[in-house]
Amino acid sequence: MPSRIFVTGLGFISGLGNNAQENLNSLLNLRSGIGRIRHIETSLRDELLVSEVRMASEELSCLAGVPSTEAYSRNTLLGIIAAKEAYRHASLGDHPGLRTGLISGTTVGGMDQCEKYYQDFLFNDSKNAFIDIYDCADSTEKIADHLGLKGFMTTISTACSSAANSIMFAARLMKAGKLDCAVAGGTESLTKFHLNGFNALKILDKQLCRPFDAGRNGINLGEGAAYLILETEEANEKTGNRVICELAGYGNACEAFHQTASSPDGTGAYLAMKKALEMSGKTPDAVDYINAHGTGTDNNDLSEGRAIENLFTGKIPWVSSTKPFTGHMTSAAGSAEAIISILGLVHGIVWPNMNFSNQMPELKFRPVTEMIRGANLNLVMSNSFGFGGNDSSLIFKKYGVH
């Protein structure tokens, strides 16, 4: 049975840029993607700050290579762009003998079109082409079609941990010998549906989000897509792809506490991180950096902070939330932040937790607030927690380090 899982390709589109390099440049230049709403048609336009991908859907169609006359959701277009980038990065299409799967996380599916045409769906036949693209699987299947993939595929929706769980499930399928390679990650476009939903829950900050700050006041939503190419060690011998890093551990646990709130002591977060660490075979002091879920809500940051303190009882690793850069990309957050963590690991950079000014009185540690360059990073952790207490944690290890 294959035991090691390598990351060999990255594809990333967000408010920071349309590909992995543009995202990296924005991160290095401390350029946030968060700003006023430009593309979504919503009455909340002047009220909320979001991190939108800087293209209208028609432009995204062009970038994805899709005729703009065809029925595609923004979610699918983002997914195609990022998945194609990752797939080309690893030239997986050149190795037809390898069994490549596609595991994608999403929750909004084709909601952006559905909310536009719902009254037509109900009362007339004018928008029938958009009925079929409403569900979550549509984006996954269209991504598969654009990559020419016909192997194992599925779609995961565990709210804001969807993409992390997709990476985890892909790795498990590979270790079980069902797949040699996988395209794994998630995609999520902003929609009126979830902007209003999160707004109704009163967890959106009208100002810039301030994760782990004593005065934090909620989330700025974001959108985008991010996919990783995973290969088993055996498959990698065939592809000869350069190994970017190794997926060394993963853990999934459930809070079983409340549908939208985290438990005060962060049981789910603690268990997910602990499981991931145990799988990596490392002790807590080996973790150099944690890319926290850090949404900026009162509840998450306290609960996650406590869980971190409970697990890392010795020295607490560098911790930051990069959501002040990307916004909360919900179902795509897991793979987006996995890539941000990997870029840090590869370039020796600890990303800063922007917009932080006041220490939370409940926590002993404070997040990293200035970018650290030349950091010696060997092991990084990326946390993603979802509604319903669906908590997952991933650990990436520098390649060639034991």
């Binding site: 996954t140 939903g197 979802g386």
Partner: protein, 351 residues
């Protein structure tokens, strides 16, 4: 090896505990087949239940019935498959939002999130273990079962609670009827196979299973294998996929005793179902069942309930018409399901 050690199912038939195995068929003359629902307060705290939508109640209740059936208090993992999640809650929001954006009631938004079912089950059981949700058309339940088998083989779990759930509403049916593959009028479910009108009959249901590493006195059958096939280029390719699937599990086509057919009343696709099975396992007895539960993304949950019971009871209920001869034995059952001849799914259930 993995075993089906518990079943909890809410469906348009009498499938609740103590109702036997499809002894009296439920006839419905309707636009879609609606579940025969239990009294939820026997399963869910009435105060919590009041805030829950129908799908969530069906999910939690069938999960609890399933665990009781298996004699298990706490599973080692909870995994749900759903094609559409809570349609009712999503419609509530869309109904308001697409007329005017105003401050929403947050409850339907929370419940419209697909993972609500798995997480509500976890909350009601206080279960902190692995928890996930798959949302891929007719691969949703099959992905759950694949995950469950992985959990067991990794040594992470001895008993996994895995299930598939979907609901139908009249609004949703109105919308999908525009696509031309569904019956445009109410019909009597038992007339589905003789009906002159085109299209599938819609349905709904929730079926959870305890998938276990050990066989015990509760065991119904063995969950031998699950495979999916995306966009086959021809019926012949699908048929050879089936033969390979059987061979991978050490079976000759002639050893398949019974096939639970994917047919749903939409004749164009029913023809494909027949061809696939005739070309791959021509000698097997075939049985139709979707007149009992209707068509929905996770309908293979109903089929798995049928297969497990047919094997453990060694009988086929009379409400399911047999195409071809009566099988001599009931040891190997193949379930075929598909979504518009694009996504094909196969489950092999063995004695």
């Amino acid at each position: 090896m993995e075993y089906i050690n518990g079943i909890g199912i809410i469906s348009p038939q009498n499938t609740l505990p103590g109702q036997g195995f499809l002894e009296a068929v439920v006839e419905q003359t309707a636009d879609f087949l609606k579940s025969v629902e239990p009294v939820y307060k026997s399963y869910i705290d009435p105060i919590a239940s009041r805030r829950m939508s129908r799908l969530i109640k069906m999910g939690i209740t069938s999960a609890k019935i399933c665990l009781r059936d298996a004699g298990i208090d706490a599973p080692d993992a909870i995994i749900t498959g759903t094609g559409l999640g809570s349609v009712e809650d999503t419609e509530k929001i869309l109904g308001e939002l697409t007329i005017e954006e105003k401050f929403l009631n947050p409850s339907p938004f929370i419940q419209s999130t697909y993972n609500t079912i798995s997480s509500q089950i976890a909350i009601s059981l206080k279960c902190h273990e692995y928890n996930s949700t798959f949302v891929h058309r007719c691969f949703s339940l099959e992905s759950c079962l694949t995950d469950a088998v992985l959990q067991i083989r990794e040594g992470s779990a001895a008993n996994v609670l895995a299930g598939g759930i979907d609901e139908m509403t009249l609004n949703h049916l109105t919308i999908i009827r525009r696509l031309g593959m569904w019956k445009r009028e109410a019909i009597r479910n038992l007339d589905l196979w003789t009906s002159e009108t085109p299209g599938a009959l819609a349905g709904e249901g929730s079926a959870y299973f305890v998938i276990s590493s050990e066989k015990n006195e509760k065991t119904y059958a063995r969950l031998a294998a699950v495979e999916t096939l995306y966009k086959p280029s021809s019926t012949m390719q699908t048929a050879s996929f089936v033969k390979q699937f059987l061979a991978d599990n050490g079976l000759m086509p002639a050893e398949v005793d019974l096939v639970l057919m994917g047919s749903n009343g939409y004749s164009e696709h029913d023809r494909v179902c027949n061809e696939v099975i005739m070309q791959s396992v021509p000698a097997a007895a075939r049985v139709l069942y979707k007149h009992l539960c209707g068509e929905y993304h996770t309908v293979s949950g109903f089929a798995l309930y049928l297969a497990a019971n047919i094997i453990s009871r060694q009988m086929i209920p009379s409400c399911m018409p047999l195409l071809q001869r009566k099988p001599e034995k009931l040891e190997n059952i193949l379930i075929h399901n598909h979504f518009r001849n694009t996504d094909h799914a196969f489950i092999l259930v063995r004695v």
